[in-house]
């Protein structure tokens, strides 16, 4: 296991390099002069020259990349002219809220998705199954941002139960309770939408597992039905679902962009949208780089869990 973990950790390096190349290319792809584009309204000749020198825009692309990448490694993500502060500071400030939102959404997604998928499969073609199927169908078909708006209009406008936006009540005491109250709606909306995919896949995968020979063997051994379903079928289904859960983290991180926008959540997603509108490219690059890295780490985790659960891949990796 330790060997595999190290092996797998090493494997993330080329992935991160690949990501950084793509992120770098964003700047290279900008039509026209990147420096002017990045500076936008702040494009005084003086600023432009300074930035050009900083980015090394007059040098070959490869060299530019290495300058940029080594800057990244030393924590220098550049400076946001629009915000007038270092990109890294802005990112660090917004990382926490995004992780909190995505993390709680992920919990909702995993729990809800697995349980309802399992239930639907076991109760195949009963009203339970049909109800869940309809529910998840809406989940995968509705735009997350719209569901968010609808939730606000129900729970804030109509019922007045939950606050519509932000992380804390303005000028409040910033207590944990206040945070939770603000977190509930965005986290559940995001988690619910993400769980629909998981629920549907869990159902299909469970149905597939239930017709495998080893489930018949379990029954032939006289196992009680619950044991046959949980210990045998679900255990195997889970092995295939773990990587999907990893991928779903990507969906949640991406979906966070909408949800943060809808609920005015002070995270990286909302920052990115603003940055794109103001063409604050350095901020976009930093944000994308950070979120993609989180995603890569998440997938790494999923991989390690799957590796621990599935003896078959253990062998092929040695």
């Amino acid at each position: 296991m330790l060997r595999y973990t190290i092996h797998r950790l090493l494997l993330t390096i080329p992935v991160l390099v690949g990501i950084s190349v793509v992120v770098f290319l964003i700047m290279a792809l900008i039509p026209g002069d990147p420096a002017t584009a990045i500076l936008g309204a702040f494009a005084t000749p003086e600023n432009t020259t300074k930035l050009r020198a900083e980015l090394g825009l007059d040098r070959p692309l490869i060299e530019q990349y290495f300058t940029w990448a080594s800057n990244l490694l030393s924590g220098n993500f550049g400076r946001s002219y629009a915000l007038n502060r270092p990109v890294l500071d802005e990112l660090l400030e917004r990382l926490g809220p995004t992780l909190l939102l995505a993390g709680s959404a992920m919990c909702v997604c995993v729990l809800l998705g697995l349980i309802s998928g399992l239930l639907a499969a076991v109760k195949q073609y009963t009203w339970v199954d049909q109800g869940l199927t309809l529910f998840t169908l809406i989940g995968i078909s509705a735009p997350a941002f719209w569901l968010g708006l609808m939730a606000v209009s129900l729970f804030t406008v109509q019922l007045g139960w939950l606050p519509a936006s932000g992380m804390y009540t303005p000028y409040g005491d910033e207590s944990l309770g206040d945070l939770l109250v603000h977190l509930v709606m965005p986290a559940i909306t995001l988690g619910l939408v993400a769980s629909s995919v998981i629920a549907r896949l869990t159902r299909t995968s469970m149905l597939e597992q239930l017709r495998q020979d080893y489930v018949r063997t379990a029954r032939a051994k006289g196992e009680r039905e619950t044991a046959a379903v949980i210990k045998h079928a679900f255990r195997n289904a889970l092995v295939g679902l773990i990587p999907v859960l990893g991928l779903q983290a990507g969906f949640v991180l991406g979906g966070a962009v909408y949800i943060e926008t809808v609920f005015q959540w002070p995270g990286i997603g909302r920052m990115l949208v603003n940055a794109i509108s103001t063409r604050d490219i350095l901020l976009v690059q930093g944000g994308v780089m950070i979120v993609a890295t989180i995603y890569v780490l998440f997938n790494l985790l999923a991989d390690l869990i799957q590796h621990a659960l599935d003896p078959r891949i253990q062998q092929s990796h040695g």
Binding site: L11, S316, G318
Partner: protein, 323 residues
């Protein structure tokens, strides 16, 4: 006519099991280990051995689906891979293959007509009416009605599908046909039909067969000569009758004694299960009752003393001829 139609000369095939980080191979599996054999025109050679012993890999190398890692394969005395472009079509036409799984060997989305006609278009320069004529001819040979042409593969039973596969292989009038377990997926009642058909075709058309099977009795039906393989190497070869009756290699012996037959009850000896690994020297060592210290050296395939018709065996301490 060349003396040997197909020749394997010290052919080895290795597969990469695992690649390391830089795409370099870090673990290999030797599926075929320096085998040398040949088949004369107009005969049938059987190859037997247990699953995974390298039989199919040899067939696939013979038709060019795989390239040998080392060694040479010659067809009509000419090394494969050294054929000129113009001759390549001749080679394709001359060497054909029939596979094990009848339902998987026909493209589910093509009618039988398309399947057969494509083969003719690619391998011959026949005109349309010549192609039609040839298709009719070959269908008759495999005893299928003409209406077969307009059907899709899923409409046929296993036996019929296998007849179609045979028709496809024979349509370009090949000189050599490799049959990779062609009857293993069939019921006995149908298997016997196909075996009879194959036997007739060989007599009628003079095609040479290389017939691969794990079933000794099937090979015995069709092939006057047989090779026994174990773990990628040939352990024994010779005329079928002689080899079965006067086997010298301990694996051949075990193999033959293990075949259950109606009316004959197996002498079920209590055999200890061995851990199967791929050790140095004789691969059969850990299952062999006669294994001794010499057996850690690779045994060489050599002619059995006093044999008639070329009976070879690779063993340090072969069985003595049964009385």
């Amino acid at each position: 006519m060349p003396e040997h139609l197909l020749q394997f000369d010290r052919v080895t095939k290795e597969f990469d099991l695992r690649k390391n980080w830089f795409g370099k191979t870090s673990k290999r599996f030797r599926a075929v280990n320096e085998v040398t054999w040949q088949v004369e025109p107009g005969t049938a050679l059987g190859i037997v051995g247990e699953s995974g012993c390298g039989k199919s890999t040899m067939a696939r190398m013979a038709v060019g689906l795989e390239l040998p890692t080392s060694g040479e394969i010659r067809f009509a005395e000419k090394t494969l891979g050294k054929w000129l472009k113009e001759e390549a079509m001749m080679l394709r036409r001359s060497v054909q293959m029939v596979f094990q799984d009848p339902s998987a060997s026909l493209n589910p989305r093509q009618r039988i007509r398309e399947i057969l006609e494509l083969q003719l278009q690619q391998l011959t320069d026949f005109r349309a009416e010549q192609r039609m004529q040839r298709m009719e001819e070959v269908l008759e040979q495999v005893q299928l009605p003409l209406a077969t042409l307009e059907r899709y593969p899923h409409e046929f039973s296993g036996g019929q599908a296998q007849r179609i596969s045979i028709a496809r292989a024979l349509i370009s009038k090949p000189k050599l046909l490799l049959l990779d377990e062609p009857v293993s997926a069939l019921d006995v009642s149908v298997q016997a039909q196909i075996l009879l058909l194959l036997e007739e075709m060989r007599k009628e058309l003079g095609v040479t067969y290389v017939f691969i099977s794990h079933d000794l009795a099937v090979v015995e039906q069709l092939c006057p000569r047989v090779l026994v393989m174990y773990a990628g190497s040939i352990v024994e070869s010779g005329p079928t009758n002689q080899l079965f009756q006067q086997r010298r290699h301990h694996y051949t012996d075990l193999l033959i004694r293990s075949v259950p037959m109606p009316g004959k009850s197996l002498e079920l000896k209590r055999e200890e299960m061995a851990d199967l690994k791929n050790p140095q020297g004789c691969a059969f060592r850990n299952r062999c009752p006669k294994a001794n210290h010499q057996c850690s050296q690779d045994p060489i395939l050599k002619e059995v003393s006093g044999s008639i018709g070329g009976h070879d065996c690779a063993c340090h301490d072969p069985l003595s001829v049964a009385a």
